[in-house]
């Protein structure tokens, strides 16, 4: 197994709102990226060994029966010293990324705040609504240890530290989200163009689009369409709108709303997208969001969701344990429940006819020519898979996702 060497941080994409990153910031991000690669590729596979060689035999000796629940695996793994080291390092590395990214952004607070204010002033493409409240499922904990999340302000009316998410994304994903962090959006475009070659949407909604990092590829791929990036978090929208303006987009609006119940008129979109959003909501909210998609779509319109795949009845307990890990320890609590939900039943209950349902897989689409030719990237959610690939091969393949959706019957 050859070790992956990730691309260097200076190969990340820059736009008009990218904060200044000094030599030492970039060096720190290079260290953290390599640390993440080492943890994913070298340390993480060992927790399975610790399970097979220590935790499971101890459990069998004590109870006489094999594990029947992945939560028992979780609780009994907690006593294993090897697992403890991996888990502690993983949480700590995420915290270090957040700290480093926040420092970059916050020490330039005044300059960035002014740039964002100037870019947004008087623009009707940014529509904030202070009657929109942050639902409890977003405010009870900060998802993925991101202080303030996508909605927290530092001074009222500002963009919080949302930009720090973009600054540090490369580190956690070891470049597998492409140079501009938009690998998921690029993958969605590829998927839609292949699956629906004649589809020419006029109005697209990215529900839970945050600052639009994965929305803009949709606007670029369909320049005649109008794209609405919608989120509950005003800071994310303020930063996203200024960012999109700086990149020259004129067909994108940023609108504050709750996707469970918006003020958009019925049948006003041809395509509604969610990207890594549903698993950060709640069981009720998912139902409400899908119903809202049914209301907002034009007949024949497309609904598409990008997530990690949910569990199948035959998904092994060990895989459930590693995949629910982010729910328990990366502050994404709904993910454990979401993993058990049947997305086809959910779509059917929301009024999408079963004969319009579809699903598929997509890999992050990594922009050619930006990373060094020798560089490899590592999937955050299945580091073992990437470890088996040659560096040349993996350089073109990023994080893997599951897509599911339906069309609204005419």
């Amino acid at each position: 197994m050859s070790a992956i060497l990730p691309p260097t941080y200076d190969r990340t994409g820059r736009h008009g709102l990218t904060p200044e990153v000094t030599h030492d910031d970039a060096a720190r991000f290079n260290f953290l990226t390599n640390l993440n690669v080492y943890l994913g590729q070298r340390v993480f596979p060992g927790i399975k060994q610790a399970f097979e060689k220590r935790v499971k035999p101890k459990h069998l000796a004590r109870t006489g029966v094999d594990f029947t629940s992945h939560r028992d695996i979780r609780d009994e793994m907690r006593a294993d010293p090897y697992y403890q080291a991996w888990a502690a390092l993983r949480v700590n590395t995420m915290e270090m990324r957040q700290q480093a990214g926040r420092h970059v952004v916050l020490r330039q607070y005044d300059a960035m705040t002014e740039k964002i204010r100037a870019a947004n002033a008087g623009k009707n493409t940014l529509q904030l609504d202070d009657k929109v409240t942050v639902p409890e499922y977003l405010s009870q904990v900060d998802n993925h240890w991101m202080p303030g999340s996508y909605y927290g302000e530092i001074v009222p009316g500002d963009a919080g530290a949302v930009a720090s998410y973009e600054v540090g994304l490369f580190v956690t994903t070891a470049g597998s989200m492409s140079a501009f962090g938009d690998g998921a959006g690029r993958a969605i475009v590829k998927f839609v163009k292949e699956r629906f070659p004649n589809f020419q949407p006029k109005r697209i909604l990215d529900l839970g689009g945050a600052f639009g990092i994965n929305s803009l590829p949709l606007a670029a791929a369909f320049p005649d369409a109008e794209l609405v990036v919608m989120d509950v978090g005003a800071p994310a929208l303020r930063y996203g709108h200024a960012r999109a303006q700086s990149m020259g987009y004129t067909n994108v609006q940023f609108v504050q709303a709750n996707g469970e119940h918006t003020n958009f008129p019925a049948e006003s979109f041809d395509w509604i997208q969610t990207t890594m959003t549903l698993h950060e909501t709640s069981a009720n909210a998912v139902v409400n969001i899908l119903k809202e998609c049914q209301r907002l779509l034009k007949p024949g319109g497309l609904m598409l969701h990008l997530e990690q795949p949910n569990f199948a009845p035959e998904t092994p307990l060990w895989e459930r344990f590693t995949r629910d890990w982010d729910a328990w320890y990366n502050n994404e609590p709904f993910w454990a429940k979401f993993h058990t939900m049947n997305v086809f039943d959910l779509m059917a209950d929301a009024g999408f006819a079963r004969d319009t349902h579809f699903d598929g897989r997509a890999k992050a689409d990594i922009e050619a020519g930006r990373y060094q030719p020798w560089a490899g990237t590592l999937s955050r959610h299945s580091p073992e898979q990437k470890a088996a690939m040659s560096q040349q091969e993996s350089a073109r393949k990023g994080e893997g996702w599951y897509l599911f959706g339906a069309t609204k019957s005419t």
């Binding site: 070790a3 060497l5 990730p6 260097t8 200076d10 000094t22 030599h23 030492d24 060096a27 720190r28 290079n30 260290f31 953290l32 390599n34 640390l35 690669v37 080492y38 070298r42 340390v43 060992g46 060994q49 610790a50 220590r54 907690r78 010293p81 090897y82 697992y83 403890q84 080291a85 888990a87 502690a88 390092l89 949480v91 700590n92 590395t93 915290e95 270090m96 957040q98 700290q99 926040r102 420092h103 916050l106 020490r107 607070y109 705040t113 405010s139 009870q140 900060d142 240890w145 991101m146 202080p147 303030g148 530092i154 001074v155 530290a161 328990w328 320890y329 502050n331 060094q372 020798w374």
Partner: protein
């Protein structure tokens, strides 16, 4: 200038109970501090590397030339290889614990051998 405390805000605690994985939370604290220091050592090392490369190419070493430096493909590869070797070096004990787990024969106790022989 907005009066914000950058260092405190950069360090802000995310909302949610932090999981401590070691039996003693003090171990977690020491690991966390050690890894932060390890990162800063890597930063210094990369800065030294940049200075060396600037000097080799006859470029004046200034704060500005250091911040503007972009490694070419070869230099970038050498620097990433250094990071990979460095991370492996500081996490050596974890690598060895895994090896010991995979191969029981690496765990023969010299103390037990010594006692057994001495008692014969």
């Amino acid at each position: 200038m907005t009066n914000i405390d950058v260092n405190a805000l950069a360090n802000a605690k995310a909302k949610g109970e932090r999981p401590y994985f070691f039996d003693d939370p003090a171990v977690e604290r020491v690991l966390s501090i050690t890894m932060a220091v390890a990162a800063e050592v890597a930063v210094l090392r990369e800065r030294m590397d940049t200075i060396e490369r600037l000097m080799e190419s006859g470029t004046a070493v200034t704060k500005a030339s250091i911040d503007a430096y972009k490694p070419d493909d070869n230099a970038a590869r050498e620097r990433q290889e250094w990071h990979a070797a460095y991370v492996a070096r500081i996490l050596r004990i974890i690598h060895q614990e895994l090896q010991a787990l995979e191969d029981e024969s690496l765990n023969v106790s010299s103390k037990k051998l010594a006692d057994a022989q001495a008692d014969q």
